[in-house]
Structures are given as C-alpha cells and as structure tokens.
Symmetry: D2
Subunit: 387 residues, 4 copies
C-alpha cells in the first residue's frame, strides 16, 4: 500500500539547504517512515539559485518567492534554512498558512521575533521543530537515555564547549555570519546555541548566567563572493565585524548543577569541536561531535579496580537510530543527524505526537543567549526570561 505523500518546501539553498535536502532524500531509504516525504519545491533568493539547488539536490519544483511557496495549498511542511534574520517572517507566514515547520537554529536573532514565532505555531496548532540536529547524533541520544535511567545520578557539572577555527585568519571575509543584522550574533548564536540546547536537553533549565562576548578581530575585508561552504572571496574594502568571535559564560541550573559554556571560532585545530562533559553522583559522560560515533562513559558502580572511562562505539543495532544504517563501527557522519531529525519530525507529524526541540525550546534557548548578551554588557548575573 502506498504511503501518504507529505509535500515539503525548502526555503534556503546554501549549506543548511544542502544538509536538509539530503535528509529528506535519505530518510526513507534507511527508515520505514509512516509517510512518503516528497521534495516538492525549493525556494532561493532568486529562482536561478533555486534551480541550481533543485538540480543538485533533487527538488521537483523551484521558486524565488517564499511567500508564494509557504502559501501553496499542496505544501505540508515548510523547512526554513535561510539566514537567521529571515526565520521569523517566513515561519510566521507558514504558521498562518497552517504548515508544519522545521526551522534552523537559532530560532531568530532576538527574543521578540522568537516569541512571535512560537506564538504563531502554537496558535496555528502546527508541528514545529528547531534544528538542533546534534541531539540526534546516536551517541547524544544514548547519553540522554543513560541520564533518564538514573545511571549518572544527580548532575553536578555540565562543561560544554563548541570551538571552531575558521575565522582565525584576519583576512577571512565578512560573510553574513559575521554581521549582526543578519546573524544576530556570532559564535554565540551559531555555536553556543547548540551547547545550550544540549545543556537544557541533558541537565535541565538554566536559571542564571554570567558571561562575556568578545570580538578579537574588529574589521575584516568585505565579501566579494560567497561559496557553499562557510567562506568566500574577500574584496579589498574593509568592514566592521558586528558579532562576537567568542563567548563564555557560567551557568546555574535550576536543579543546582553548575555549568560552564564556551563558544569560539578562534581555536586553532578545533574544527567542529562540539564537546560536553557531564559529571554526576554516579558517573560521567563525554561527547564530542568530532568523534560523534563515540560516547565516553564512566560508572562509579563498576568494581573499584576496573573503573575507567569506556569508549562506546554507538553504532550497533542496540543503539538509537544506528540499526537502520550499517553494521557496527561502520560509522555514520554529520549528515545523518539531519536524517534522524527528518525521520523523527515526519513521524511526529504523521502520528500527531510531540516533537522536541520545538519552537518553545528555541525561545528558551534564545532567552539564555540573550541573558548572556545582557550579562556581557552589565557584568552581572542575569536570569533568562521565563517562557
């Protein structure tokens, strides 16, 4: 029996558009989905851009007009993979049109917009997801299971860093990710947002923060031409960097745990070092996206002379998601976190089940980001706005 088709519209054709396209193309090849995702239409800034993406990534139709797209009656899901400052208008319009929505992170560039987005989807009663894809790395999902089963005990410490090095060179150009009006913030919203999501997912709500945001290189050559990775060609003219290069903050969780979170694009050798460590009363866990197929776990309940961090290859049929891919230790990669996310979101829609992280999570995440921004200005501890 043929499955019910579910028509998807993708808004945005760059790096994230590529990753999301791959997810919809691949999810039904590995998982037995309850619906048939149809890559219906991709929308670019221009129709030409969309046509390139459609040919490359396999979308049926193209558009240069997102408003028209999100209002098409045949569209079930709107996937938003555009620069951060455009998320709100697209999501709100899509919600009004009754579409389910998956939106890239951070949800928006500011709290006001983020809350408007949340209100819109909740009012519309549509499924909504924010793309903190790393939650769905199998090792991270396993970590969550261990914590929920009580195997780590009461959590004392969360220690998260998300470190990259792609803008250490002062000649690296002023791409949109370095402009406040488009990106909202720099490393903070791009990287720390992921770490905050992990912190909330694994430890609980954040009660209080104090932090610093810093821009090491204040001026850079303006961008002449972007590429489909993260960089582009520099021009001769200089422009102002208006976002942070790095952020660091201390966290008090509502449940009493302590946290340190750090994000930076200035850590040479750290390419996609999205790492956290959790220490509890019964054990510790370590995860690092650079070796995302592995989870390190320490159990105090092991016999004293045999205690040690064990490195679990989270690739076996008994682990989350991985049974649908390849045999043990035939590793999967970055793109599979999006495939897992697409699968779970499609299932949530088909079965009308809750999906997490949703826009409310996105807003709470944004509230933490903004609390750190405020703290960075005042030097004081700031409580994230309660949502």
């Amino acid at each position: 029996m043929a499955k019910k088709p579910m028509n998807i519209a993708l808004i945005g054709c760059q790096f994230m558009g590529k990753a999301h396209s791959n997810a919809y193309r691949q999810a039904p090849r590995f998982f037995d989905l309850p619906v048939d995702p149809v890559m219906k239409v991709v929308c670019g800034i221009t129709k030409e851009e969309a046509e390139g993406a459609a040919a490359k990534y396999g979308w049926q139709e193209t558009s240069g007009d997102w408003e028209e797209v999100v209002n098409r009656p045949d569209i079930d899901i709107v996937d938003i993979a555009t620069p951060n400052n455009t998320h709100a208008m697209i999501a709100i319009a899509a919600a009004k049109a009754g579409k389910h929505i998956l939106c890239e992170k951070p949800l928006s560039t500011n709290m006001r917009d983020a809350k408007a987005m949340m209100d819109a989807v909740e009012k519309a009663g549509v499924k909504n997801a924010v793309s903190f894809c790393y939650r769905r790395a199998p090792a991270a999902t396993l970590a969550k299971q261990l914590i929920e089963e009580g195997k780590i005990g009461q959590i004392y410490h969360f220690r998260g860093q998300y470190l990259q090095d792609w803008i250490v060179d002062p000649k690296f150009p002023l791409v949109w990710r370095l402009q406040k009006e488009v990106a909202g913030s720099g490393a903070h919203g791009d990287l720390a947002a992921h770490t905050i999501d992990f912190a909330r997912y694994l430890v609980g709500e954040i009660a209080d923060v104090t932090g610093v945001m810093e821009t090491f290189i204040k001026q850079r050559p303006k961008l002449a031409k972007s590429d489909d990775r993260l960089g582009g060609v520099a021009s001769e003219e200089m422009g102002e960097v208006t976002v942070d290069d790095a952020s660091m903050f201390l966290v008090r969780f509502a449940n009493g745990a302590l946290g340190t979170i750090e994000s930076s694009r200035f850590c040479l050798g750290r390419k996609n070092y999205n790492r956290w460590e959790i220490n509890g009363s019964k054990g510790s866990i370590v995860f690092n996206v650079e070796r995302m197929d592995e989870l390190e776990v320490y159990f105090h309940d092991d016999p004293p002379n045999l205690r040690g961090f064990r490195t679990i290859q989270v690739t076996d049929s008994c682990h989350p998601y991985t049974g649908n891919y390849w045999p043990a230790a035939h590793i999967i990669g970055y793109e599979h976190t999006f495939i897992n996310q697409a699968k779970d979101f499609l299932e949530a829609i088909a079965n009308d089940k809750p999906y997490s992280p949703d826009f409310r999570d996105g807003v709470r995440n944004q509230a933490v980001l903004e609390a750190v921004e405020k703290s960075s200005e005042t030097g004081a501890w700031v409580k994230p706005e309660a949502i």
Copy 2:
C-alpha cells in the same frame, strides 16, 4: 545541457546492495559527475526480493533473472554485489555483453575463476573495478599521496589488522559468510583481502608469505532466517563451519619491506578495526577505519623537540573528496567510501581513463589470499602466483 545518462544494473540486494545503491543515489548530489547515473534495474534471487530493494533503495525496475539483466542492451554498468561464489559467472557474462563492471571483493572464491574474470573483462575491453572501497576513505587517499610524495621515505614495515567480533558467540548461526562453498574463505577473504589491498596499494607487490588460518568454533547452529545486516536467526540443527575464523601471516614485499597481516572475527571490542601502520625512513602513518575521518602521521623531519604523531582530521576542502561534502570536521562515514568509489568509476568510464583497483588487482589480491591458504597447510613460505 543534460548529461549523458548511464544505466546501471545492480545484482544483489543485501548489505552490499544497500551500500552500492546508496552510492549511485548520492554521488551526483555531492559531485559534479560527467555523466548521469541512472539506477535502472535491481536484480535479486527472486523478483520479490528485488522489488523490496527497488522500493527501499530507489531502483526503477526489478528482475529475478540476472542473465537477462546483464544482457539488456540499455544497461551500461553491471554492479555485482552477490555472494562471492556467484561473482565469476555474472562478471564473465556481463563482460561478454560489453558491460562495464564493478564487482564486490573478494573477486572470487578461487584463483581459476578470478583469472577467468580478469581475462573476460580485459578481452572485452570494458572498465572493471573491484570494490576495495576503503582505498577511497579520504584519509587513506591522503596516506597514498604522502607516500608518493616521498614524505614517508623508504618503507620498512607494514602492520595491518582487520579485526571484528561479530561471531565470538558460539550460538551465532551459520550464515553464508561461514560456508566455504559460498564465501571461499572466512575472515581471510572478507577482511584480510582489504588489508592486502591496502598493502599492495600503499607499499607494493607481495613477494612471499607464511601464515596460519584457524577456525576456533568448528560447529554452529544452522541459519533459520537471515537479516539485512550480517546475522540472522539460529535454528536448532548444527552445521560445520567450513571457513577460517582468523588468519595471520608474515609478508615479504618485493621492495624489501616486512609486513604482518592479521584478520579475525574473534576480537571482542573490535567492531570494524581495519587498521594499518606504515613505518618508513622519514615517517610513519596510521589509519583505522573505526575513526576513518582521521589520519595519524609522524614526520622525522619535524624539529626533534616537536616530533609526535599528529592526528589530521581529513575533512577539509584541501583533502581528497571531502571538499564536496561538508565543512571541516563535519565528518562523513562508511557509506561515503562507496560514493567516492562510484564517482571515480563513473569518471573513469566517461573519460576512458584507467581505474584502480581493477580485476587484475583483484586477481593479485586473490593470489596472496591463496598463497596464505597454501602456507597454512604446508607451514612453508609461499610465493603468490605472478599475474
């Protein structure tokens, strides 16, 4: 301008069929190929099996008759992903029909068949490839580049192990991989074949071997039902294990280097531990498929106080293949070695360029496998048959 379509027929629907299907589906999404690969027809043992695979993996047509398929005039490429003992008949028929052929490893279960396959493709003048996919892990390709650039110097040692643990349990059933008439050999042909390919690729031809093949568990429950990974359901009846559980051998290379090679399915904790280390007069290299995005390299030319093994994340745009996937350290996985292989094979066909490893490599590999088998019987050193 539309690219020239190239019609592919896949014979075989299990684990390898899944990996090869994925490769053809994904290659054009990441690489700008000179042709347009068309997933034309998949062939199973039965048409039903093929229909399941077609729906799952995205093939246009199905068949239960491989002979009919390899003789279809619209087929350009025959991809053989069947059990080892069927490779020869399919490949020889496909060669006679003038098809380009990609065949899973090991090429065959015996030298006679393997040579017949080589003769057939060379006589037919068709492109031919044997699927030692790990050569095309970006880190392995980088290793080859370093050796060719002379950065490692004269090679003294090759130390290769391919270790797994999926049959340690004596109750694991007698799947086809444990039956000599189907598989040819056990760990030896399945795993050591990969290591031999790496040894030949990176160091050179093997002149002499002495070795041992061993079966630790001589009887196992017969198979009631297989699954699409490596296992299945055991029945109550016992059967004879007719292949090796492990092999180990010493190697003298033609160029004077020494080698040790070991394969086993009895190494608990080693899931897909396809690891080798090369020591030369100027440096050392280490690769392990379990962390396939990394390469460890040591250079004697570094300043004495700063010498150390460096762990390169082979994921950057300056590395082989990876520029077409994701940003640095957004890792790729097992399936991408097949995508890279598909891309290179399609390019070799389109541009009429040599492809390596070809069937001749497959035969030379087989010659080493058989020399070890003979040595295991006689206890003497054996020179692999010259091809």
Copy 3:
C-alpha cells in the same frame, strides 16, 4: 672535589612531606647539582610523627618543634609542607632566621598572611619558592618555551580545569582539606590555585574575574583517623563542610585573552585531571597531568592538508629535564615534578639566580583566588588586588 653541603629542614610529614623528601633524595642522583643537599631534619606535629617519617624517607634528625628547627644555625633551607593555615607563621619565622624557603601551595589561607610572608622573605633577601610543581613537568616547560618563542602567536583563549573525584561519596570524612580554618578553601585553593599558576605562567597576569564557589555536600562524618594519602576513617558524628567542593570562574587577562577556569572534587573518573588548553593566533597547546609525559600541539603553519594536533612524548634528551632520567618514552611521573623543582631551587640558591614561582607569585595567585571568592559572594566582576 666534594660539593658544598646544603642542610634542609622539612616541616610536615604527610603526603607533601613524602613528595618533598623524595625530591631531595633523588635530585642529586639524576642531576649534577652545584651543591650537596643534606636531608638534615624533619619536623612533625610530634617527635614521634617525625621519627616515622625520618625512618621512612631518610632524614638524619627529627623534631616536634618547628620553631626550634627553623632557627637552627646549621639549616640552610626550610621546606614547608604543612597544612595551609600554618604556612605563614613558619615562613615568617624562617625568613627572619635567614633561611631560604620552599613553601607548599597555596601560599596561605588569606591575603594578609600571604603578603606578610612575601614581605618577610623579600626583606630577609632569602630565596623563596612556592611549590607549583606542575610548571616543571617537562611537557609544561616545553609549552612555556613554545609560547616564548612565539610559536603559538597571540593568545586568545586559556581553558583550564583541575578536576578530581575523591570526595563524591557523601560518606567520605571531614579531613583537614575540607575545613576552612585549616585549608582556607577547598577545590579552589587546592586545585584552581595550580590552574591559576599555569594561567599566569603561560598567558600573563589576570585582570578581572567573575565566579562561583559551591559546596554540594554540606555535612560529612567527622574524621576518626587520617591516612598518608588523602583520606581516612570516618566517625559517626557529622560536621560542617566549610570549604567549596567546586569553583568556576571567567577570566580576562591583562593582555586581552579570555579564560575559563574550573576546579572540582566532584568529577567522577577525573582523578588528577589538571588540564589546560591554549589557543593562539598561530597554534594551540593542550596539557593534562594525567598524561603528563605528553604535550599536544597544533601549528597553523603546517601545510593545510597536514595540520593536526600532534602528541609529543616529552621524554627525549632534547626536552626539558628528561635527558637526565631515562631513554625516550621511558616515562617519568608525578614525583619527578618535585625533583625538577628541587633541582632548580637548589641551583637558584647556589648561583644566586631568580627563582620562579616565588612568594610574590604566590601572593598574586592568592589575590586571584580571593577575587573569585569575593565575586562568588557579590556576583560581580572583581579585579585581583595588584601586588
């Protein structure tokens, strides 16, 4: 020709007394010292305690009266390895008596005492050292060399943690290290003090801090009997824990670098995890005392396709200190940091050369510790007192 003898008095017989005794016994066996260190007298709380230590560790004489000892005319060096709250009175008396002094860290339990100690030694003109022994792990010394040679460039980030797990069990007794009046602080003064020393040594002076100190377990069984490691036997009666179990703080360095520092005794699996990472404009360095014979370094100047963290085994004759011990990779351990320290301090005395870290470093360290304590109370950023 016999070397000039230099008579040493050790005050304190526990864990640190054992480590310092070993250092004096071993230094002349590995290094060609300019003087002959004589293990003259050891002083305990009681003469009996001292007698045990003398027999065990090889001291010529014993005493239960530190005042008498530090005033003995034949003593050249006073080594203070007592609980923190006794450092000041002993050091000041020793300085007045004109002795050179090596004092365990932290220098004292409060700034007032620490400054009085500094004033006393500077007024007396005696050599003075505070035992931040980890600076003299060969790998840490190599790190310092690399930074001074400019190989790491401008430093952007310092990320230090000193994590242990020995008091996670709520039944662990109330040893002196958990009592404020003796220890001054908990993890903060015991562990973060080391990290602060590394930060100052490798990056520079600390301009501003904000931080938190926390006690997870507020009450513990009182101590019935201590042992010579870190623990002891619990009694039935409960007592108040008056020091922190963990501290975490953000740092702004005078030179613009950012830092995060964390100390805890509640990190299961982290036994002596004294780790830091430095990211600069030209490279990164990582050190961890748990693998103290290794240093990880990343150089951006390496060819792009060969960049990676290299693990240097800092054990060769070209490395600091190690040429005097054993051949390469015949590793040394914790105790050797004290041997290296003893050697350098004896040389500084014999050659009348500066020694670092001295009491002034100890006071600056204390100033940072106290700034964090204040910040933990007020929630504001605090500038360490300028010294």
Copy 4:
C-alpha cells in the same frame, strides 16, 4: 626493631645499572620491606667506572673485579646489569658462591649458556630472577589478575609489538647492542624478549613459531665513545651490523591461542611502544608501556549498549603496588617497574617464596628467541626446545 640487612652487589654501571640502583634506593622508601637492602658494592669494567657510579647512585663500595665481588662473603645478592654475553659467567660464579641473583634480560646470548645458568642456580638453591621488569608495571599485573579470575575467558589472540626508533638514522653508531658477539641479537633479544615474556606470563607456553629476522642497515660507523643512555659518538670507520634490526613471528600457543609478535628499532615515532592486545571469549585487554599507568579493557558481559574499551588509570590504592606511591592518577613511571621488582625479589628471598620470572623462565624465553632465529634461517615452523 632494626630489619635484617641484605647486602647487594651490582655488576654493571650503564643504563641498567642506573635503573637497578634506583630500585634498591627507592624500594624501602615506598614499601615496608621485610629486610633492609644495603647498596654495598658496585662493580664496573674498571674501578674508575664504578667510582663514578657509586658517587652518582649511592653505593658504599666499588670494585673493578666482579669475580672478587661475587665471592665476597658479606654479599647476599648479586645483581647482573652487564652486556648480555657476560651474564653467564657472572651468574654461574655467583650461584657457586651461594648468592641470590637478579639478572638482566635476555638471560644470555645463547641457549647453552642460559641452561648452564639455570642449572647453576637450581643446583645452588639460590633465589633467581630475570629482569623482565614490565610484568610489574601495575597495569600489567592487573591484566594478569583479570585473566586469572577468568574475566577475559578463553584466549584466542595475543598481538604483541615492541617498537622503537632509535637507530633509524644510518649514521647512528655501532654500539654494543648492534654486535652479535656481545648482544646475542638485536631488536629480537632486546625487545621481543619482553614481548615473549608477556606472552608466556599472560597466555601460556609457546608451542610453535615461524618468523623472520631482518637487518635493514648492514653497515654503520663504529663507536668512538658511548654515553649512558643508548647512543654515543660515531667514528669515521664503518663496521658490520651483526644483529637484526627487526624480527616478526607467528606463534601457536600450547593452549590453542594464536599470536603475532614483532620487534623493531625502525618504527619512527614509536619510542618505547611495548604494546600487546589480548582477545578472549569474554573480553579484551590492551597495554602499552608508553602509557604504562593505563590499562584498556573490554568486557563482553557489559550491557550490549554500554560495551566499550574502558581506560583504567591503574594508579589507585586498590591496584597492585600503586597504593604505596601517590594518590590516584599521580602517575608513576618506568623506574617504578624496577622498584616493584626489587621489592618482590627481596620479599621472595626474605620469606623463601617462589619468584617469577626466574632463570627457568629466562631459559624458556631464550628457547623461543632461538626457535625464531632457526625459523628465520629455514623458513619452517620450529618448536622451542622444551625446558
């Protein structure tokens, strides 16, 4: 009550003499020994050499005449740390004089001498030890415990390598370790001997071997002057290298396990890479001297989703030996294996208990070494002489 003194004579003042001296000096400082080891006399090739060593390492008396020394009535223990070809004559004389003997490995340069040594000590009824010190790295001792407790199950594989890189440079001079008449063999007797000892200790007796010994660099500059590490100053004249640079061999154990053993001084980056891995029916263990404070262990009995190699820091009070040194993860090093050995040997003498490895172990080890040598000449499998 004073302990009974036990007078030790050390024959040999180079690298091993330094390590043995340190062991006797330090053992009573960390362990509560049943006797009081007295560093009575050190004997060099000349009395001058001995005087240097006595001053440096702390021996009471000196001698240039080993025969006189081993016959002194006040000597209880003779410790032999001379080049390999002198072990036999010294040990036999010492045995005749009724001394307990600790002899460096390999026991001798040939089987005839080794057996004569064994016969001599067994006839004399003196305690005898061969210095395979690495058995007494705490992590290796823990591995032995785990195997004896059945935690690893039936052993299938032993995979041992001892790799170094100190003679890769063709200009490295012809030290005594490269001369057959003095050293007996090269990497084989120096390094593989240790691996064979581990194999016998952990797995069992070796039934059959086939192997290769190879000399990559046939000629080297003669030695002008040695140093106290492993090297020296090269002269202008060239000489023949008469030992192997590397050996590799396959092993069949009496209990059915398979083994591969490799030794080399030509593996750049491997400094003291004395590593082995054991795979059994219930688990796996990995040890590497370069990180000798750690043991990696994998248990199949762990829950399936939590299986992984755990890295145990074998430094806690519950681990062998380490409780007598420092707190957890305050690591020890190479020299402590000798201290542990000295402690155990002194206890065996004092308590008249068996000591292992003894000379009989040394002879069995030699039998394996020689079987490989024969196999390397004939190409056939060779059974080690039964002892």
